[in-house]
């Protein structure tokens, strides 16, 4: 287990440093930085102190800590997927507007 914990820690340090660099270059917003930092820190804590999840799982009436982690992950992934869909849809309709205004400016009259 200790090897896995070290590997995960190294990965998270890498992910966090990447986040900070992106923030420095102003590629992501404060909200995104805080959200992802929080998420990775939670992952870090869970890997070093897995009992925490069992404790939380018991409070919520879920049998095992690992189950709770899985449930939350799935919910999070679906939420992010939905956000991406919505964003994609908006970009699509923005492209249409651009293409349309370009077409309306360059009409070949009879």
């Amino acid at each position: 287990m200790i090897y896995l914990q070290i590997l995960v820690t190294i990965f998270i340090v890498f992910a966090l440093s990447k986040l900070f660099f992106q923030k420095q270059k102003n590629k992501i917003s404060w909200t995104a930085l805080l959200f992802w930092s929080f998420l990775w820190l939670v992952v870090l804590i869970v890997f070093w102190e897995p009992e925490i999840t069992s404790y939380l799982a018991n409070i919520l009436g879920i049998g095992r800590g690992a189950d709770l982690v899985l449930y939350l992950s799935v919910i999070l992934i679906f939420y992010l997927l939905f956000r991406i869909f919505v964003r994609l849809n908006r970009i699509e309709s923005d492209i249409t507007k651009l293409v349309r205004s370009d077409a309306l400016k360059n009409v070949r009259k009879r």
């Binding site: 849809n89 249409t96 293409v99 349309r100 077409a103 309306l104 009409v107 070949r108 009259k109 009879r110």
Partner: protein
Amino acid sequence: MNIFIVIPAYNEQKRIGQVLKDLSALPYKIVVVDDASSDDTYQLACSYPVDVLRHRINRDQGAALQTGNEYALSQGADIIVHFDADGQFLAQEIKEVIKPIVEENYDIVFGSRFLGKKSELPFFKEKIIFPLARIFNRVFLGIKLSDPQSGFRAMTRTTAQNIIIEQDGKAHCNEIMVKAHENKLKIKEVPITVIYHEFGQGLSGAFKILKDLLFSKIIK
């Protein structure tokens, strides 16, 4: 009266020539919206006495129709007719589709393949896809029209100003019907003839329309 025929066209070089030839003989103003075709549709359209607009990126039929509507409105259209570039509709039936608007003050008229005139539909479409689409329209969208996917329609200037087509894909058919109902417009269906050249959208197309409609409900 300013009557505009809006024709969205995507890779229709084989058939658009004949369509434009038939239409040119009639007293209408014609607008072709080339939806970034990769063939010679644009060049061909330009060789006829019609206005030609071009999407630089393919945005699909609904988007092209809205572009055509906005152009026609900017040119002072009183009536806008949507017509297909692939020759499946008959040019001489345009006058029948706009008649209820001119003579009876209807706001929007849909052409229907299922009202008397003889259209030869592929078996699978007639017996399975369309009945299902009709049930879907009735149950989920509250539309009671005989032709669930009619692409031949005419609308007044005010209607075109009020119905903004937001469905870029094929779901614009349903969208226009829904919005016509929501705006409590005077709606009429008239019989038209449809000539099938090929099988068109098929089942996967139907699923895409469903997906587009459901998704637009979720994110609104």
